[in-house]
């Protein structure tokens, strides 16, 4: 036994459960895979191009940022890749290359890095980027126009746009089964409802996203849509179309649940999810935008620190009465 061995002297605890940021992110990519594959199969090589460019440009922006600011290289944790992936999933297959690159620039630099990087962003970077893109180039998100050249065996009308402009009768033809199986037009990764649900359940079981947020978001959507529908069935569609069309499911499982911009306590998570769901339907039904999910999540990201103040009392805490 050597007398001069140097030992690792660090502090308790000496065990760790082995979880890692990179593992979480790779699992998230795995969960998103069914929805992405479906999009690529439907829209072909163009969709693959958008997704690939989005992931790679997000990683490159992060790389450039880390280099320029001389901060430790963080592309290995997979967070930039996830941001790129989710951004790509929210874009139409025909999005031009510069559009994707601007999107990832906004997401990585303005959405995440200016606030101090991973864990410090007050808003979901993907949602920030999509909001900026939607407001700046709203034509690209007009799925009826951008997907004009695609012809499938189902109605190529973007359900939410049809609902907004022509009322409930225009979306009667969409059955729940069709919507679940992705027989609707929309962004690359947001149309295959079943795939998103399966991915979401996988993430919930693995403990990577917080089920309270997803479930309450969906509940918020269903309840609000139902209330609107009951008050005026001619003007307002029922919960099915709101739940399975647009960005609802990807929002419930992948966007609203982003760690840094969502609450961590039980009751705040429920308020946050339900509130964002409620606001989504509110914007869709009486706002000017076709899909409210992005703005609803953005607004509740903003409210997150306030909501998260509702917290259980720490044990032994002495409350001083002023």
């Amino acid at each position: 036994m050597g007398e001069n061995n140097k030992f690792i002297v660090s502090h308790a605890p000496f065990w760790h459960d082995g979880s890692k940021i990179s593992t979480r992110n790779y699992n998230m990519a795995l969960a998103a895979l069914p929805a992405i594959l479906f999009g690529v199969i439907s829209y072909g090589i163009a969709a693959l191009g958008v997704i690939s460019l989005s992931i790679s440009s997000a990683i490159i922006w992060e790389f450039i940022y880390c280099r320029v600011t001389k901060r430790p290289m963080t592309i290995g944790d997979g967070n930039a890749a996830i941001i790129g992936m989710l951004l790509g999933m929210l874009l139409p297959a025909t999005a031009p290359w510069w559009f994707v690159i601007i999107g990832t620039f906004v997401a990585i630099l303005i959405g995440k890095q200016v606030f101090g990087g991973i864990g410090a962003n007050p808003f979901n970077p993907v949602v920030v980027a999509i909001a900026v893109l939607m407001l700046s180039w709203k034509d690209v998100f007009d799925f009826n126009e951008t997907l004009l050249n695609y012809d499938f065996d189902f109605s190529m009308v973007y359900p939410l746009a049809a609902l907004k402009h022509f009322g409930v009768s225009a979306v009667d033809s969409f059955s729940m089964g069709d919507l679940l199986m992705g027989k609707q037009s929309g962004a690359i990764g947001s149309t295959f409802g079943l795939g998103l649900i399966v991915g979401g359940i996988y993430l919930i079981i693995r403990g990577i996203i917080r089920w309270e947020i997803s479930i309450s978001f969906i509940a918020g959507i269903i309840i609000t849509a139902l209330i609107f529908n009951l008050t005026d069935p001619v003007r307002y569609a029922g919960p099915t179309i709101h739940l399975f069309a647009g960005y609802t499911l990807i929002g419930a499982f992948f966007l609203a649940t982003e760690d840094s911009s969502s609450p961590v306590n039980f009751i705040p998570m429920l308020i946050y999810g339900a509130g964002a769901g409620f606001l989504t339907v509110l914007i869709r039904n009486i706002g000017v935008y076709v899909d409210g999910a992005i703005f609803a999540i953005l607004i509740f990201n903003l409210l997150n620190p306030l909501i998260d103040k509702i917290r259980p009392k720490a044990i032994g805490k002495v409350v001083k009465n002023a």
Partner: protein, 426 residues
């Protein structure tokens, strides 16, 4: 090491080690040299004994003039050096090394003072047994400001893997009974509560004392949670159980008291759980002060560069710099960790995943707290984010996805605030 399960939705389930059968106790032969550590800071001028002084087994060594701090020699021999030793958070110790002589002689000062268990007085316990195995908390019991009214005897082990107290219960229940009786008569405190795991309930029913059952998952056997769940008394933030009149004592300490009066000798061997690199557990009995390397040699444990030696449990213990670090009266376990098993600690920021919040038994907003701690804003952390509610279980660091040393941040903050407060007071 217990890893996160595939179903990450469930909370981690960390079960305490349990002893089913009576394990054999491996005796470590008396080493050539032992080292005793006293929590008294080294002060050369006031030392009461010098190098080369001869000591006998069980002899009480008062350290300094005008101080009643003492250590008890666990061997017969000659003092070879007296020096200063600095532990975690700058805690300073006096280290007394004793070279062991060939023939063992037992000191009989305690024998004449004790005079059998019938006449056990608290003075005798206080004057001779503070350094006994298990560290009986004699200072707390004698502290006039604390007014202890309840003694909790901890028969379950408080950290994972450790089975030391369980072994004592299995092997030496008579000493426990005797020790409890002595404690009752000596302190005049009749409210004694035993806390034990489910498997120990049967063995302890013979003592005739009140036995409360503690959950078998970590961290239920930590004092603050025992107070809250079993005694129904919540310890106010920043306070300890003794501040509200409850003193915790380990089963081993009770057994030491029982044995001491029974045999008229101060016990000098410490029972501890040794966990090797493969996670195999062995119960070991060694003289207090035995260097860990002697124990490793006895079990053919080889240590390499960058391994880790842990004194105490995997969640709350402390790692040591040298394989010659001595066994102390409160060393319940020695764990050896291979360098490949040492988890990585990173300086990654908190990603707000919320795993720590779900696992924290004290309901602390760790995600917010840790941001203040990282920035060194300890006052705010204490005022607004419940720093002092922390019961120091270490689960937050255990589950942290970013691999942040959250527990260490908390301890460092408490230490810094304490230092600032002391500086202000003087």
């Amino acid at each position: 090491m217990i890893k996160r399960s595939f179903i990450g939705l469930a909370k981690p389930r960390l079960e305490y080690g349990s002893l089913e059968d009576m394990p054999s106790l491996k005796q470590i032969t008396t080493p050539k040299e032992i080292t005793l550590l006293s929590t008294c800071p080294f002060d050369k001028k006031n030392l009461l004994f010098k190098k080369k002084a001869t000591v006998k087994t069980g002899q009480k060594l008062l350290l300094y003039k005008e101080s009643d701090e003492y250590v008890v020699s666990s061997v017969t021999g000659q003092v070879s050096s007296i020096s200063s030793y600095t532990g975690d958070f700058g805690q300073s110790y006096t280290a007394i090394a004793i070279e062991v002589a060939d023939d063992e002689e037992t000191d009989d000062e305690f024998k004449s003072a004790a005079g059998g268990s019938k006449n056990a007085s608290f003075e005798t316990i206080k004057n001779f047994l503070a350094f006994a195995p298990g560290n009986p908390p004699v200072k707390l019991l004698s502290d006039k400001d604390k007014s202890i009214s309840t003694i909790v005897v901890c028969c379950a082990d408080s950290d994972l893997l450790i089975t030391t107290n369980q072994y004592i219960i299995k092997s030496n229940i008579d000493a426990i009974k005797n020790g409890i009786n002595i404690l009752k008569t000596a302190t005049g405190i009749n409210d004694i509560i035993m806390v034990a795991s489910q498997s120990q309930m049967h063995e302890l029913s013979s003592t005739g004392e009140k036995v409360n059952q503690v959950n078998d998952t970590y961290p239920s056997a930590l004092p603050h949670l025992i107070m809250k769940d079993l005694l129904g008394k919540v310890v106010p933030a920043g306070k300890n159980p003794e501040d509200i009149g409850v003193c915790f004592i380990s089963a081993e300490a009770v057994a030491s008291i029982g044995n001491a009066f029974n045999s008229s000798q101060i016990p000098v061997t410490k029972t501890l759980t040794l966990v090797n690199k493969d996670g195999d557990k062995t119960l070991v009995s060694a003289r207090i002060g035995t260097p860990a390397s002697d124990i490793f040699t006895a079990f053919n444990i080889t240590l390499n560069e960058n391994d880790r030696i842990i004194f105490g449990g995997p969640m709350t213990g402390s790692s040591v710099y040298s394989e010659n670090h001595p066994v102390q009266p409160d060393t319940d376990a020695i764990i050896v960790q291979d360098r490949d098993d040492i988890p990585f600690i990173s300086d990654y920021p908190c990603t707000n995943c919320g795993d720590c919040i779900r696992v924290c038994p004290a309901n602390i907003q760790i995600n917010l707290l840790v941001r203040f701690l990282e920035a060194g804003q300890y006052e705010e952390a204490a005022d607004q984010y419940d720093l002092y509610s922390c019961i120091e279980c270490g689960l937050c660091s255990y589950v942290c996805v970013s691999g942040m040393p959250i527990f260490q941040y908390i301890r460092a903050a408490k230490y810094e605030l304490d230092r600032a407060n002391t500086a202000e007071a003087t």
